[in-house]
């Protein structure tokens, strides 16, 4: 089998709104950040099933940008030891 879509240590910002995740994707890509919009893995339940994948190196700048533009995800998780660990849930309307 090949590698997984999400590698050990990578983060997923999981969204519950399609419009919101598309806006966030555009914002981060326009900022030159190496992110990828992927279907949220089965193990990570999300209403719209979309997540933005990125490496730890970019965690701080991504969260800062999303906060600034009011585009935070529903929650943030990290793939570690073959499990998705929720790092933080964000309480706001329109995930």
């Amino acid at each position: 089998m090949g590698q997984q879509v999400v590698s050990e240590g990578q983060y997923l910002a999981v969204f519950n709104s399609t419009h919101r995740v598309l806006k966030a994707e555009g914002l981060l890509k326009n900022s030159g950040l190496p992110i990828m919009l992927i279907p949220a893995p089965r193990a990570v339940q999300a209403d719209c099933g979309l997540a933005i994948r990125f490496d730890e190196d970019h965690l701080n700048v991504i969260i800062a940008l999303l906060t600034e533009q009011n585009l935070l995800p529903a929650f943030l998780c990290q793939f570690t030891n073959n499990t998705y660990v929720t790092i933080r849930e964000y309480q706001h309307e329109n995930h």
């Binding site: 090949g2 879509v5 399609t18 990828m36 279907p39 089965r42 099933g49 979309l50």
Partner: protein, 196 residues
């Protein structure tokens, strides 16, 4: 052994000539072809039909020695590559999925391809036509997932005419270039075809 010279011919002519020659009688044939797509397509065509193919570099091209029996034709569905999922073929004719906003359609197509990595059953091959070929070209976000599918034995075939139309022939990042002859054969011999 009969020899046919297909050098200088553009695809799909060499495949058609090979098919015709094999149908005419012979269980063995020698085909002279140019390197690149003609060599790959003729070789693949013969192997898919159960023939043995031995390739050797020759002056101005390649010699393909095709041997075996036409009686084995139809084993396509039993060979190791096809057994990935009983020769289920995905036909992707666009770089976006469904009708509606382009942005949403592209997102859905990308999602579908990534999701294939998590589904227990995978297609034997994926055929890309029209703007669907763009999904397999440099810069497309779907290349990463397609490479993983290819590693798992899924055959990826992109329409050469389409790549040429989009001027992306040199930018195919995953899979192989194919022609309409081969595409039609795969569709007609598949146990099931799912068109996206």
């Amino acid at each position: 052994m009969k020899t046919i010279d297909c050098r200088g011919q553009a695809c799909p002519a060499p495949v058609i000539a090979t098919k015709k020659a094999l149908e005419e009688s012979d269980t063995s044939l020698c085909v002279l072809v140019d390197d690149g797509a003609p060599r790959e397509n003729v070789g693949r065509f013969a192997r898919n039909r159960g023939y043995q193919v031995v390739e050797a570099a020759a002056e101005d091209g390649w010699t393909l020695q095709i041997t075996g029996s036409a009686a084995t034709e139809g084993t396509d569905q039993n060979n190791s590559r096809s057994s990935v999922s009983g020769d289920r073929v995905l036909l992707i004719t666009s770089d976006h999925l469904g009708e509606g906003p382009q942005e949403l359609g592209y997102l859905l197509m990308k999602n579908f391809i990534f999701t294939l990595l998590e589904t227990p059953q995978q297609p034997a091959r994926i055929l890309f036509l029209n703007s669907g070929v763009l999904l397999a070209t440099e810069g497309a976000e779907t290349v990463e997932a397609l490479k993983q599918l290819e590693d798992r034995g899924v055959e990826l075939l992109a329409c050469g005419v389409c790549l040429d139309y989009f001027k992306k022939k040199e930018q195919l990042a995953v899979g192989q270039v194919t022609n309409m002859f081969s595409t039609a054969e795969h569709l007609l011999t598949a146990s099931s075809v799912i068109k996206l």
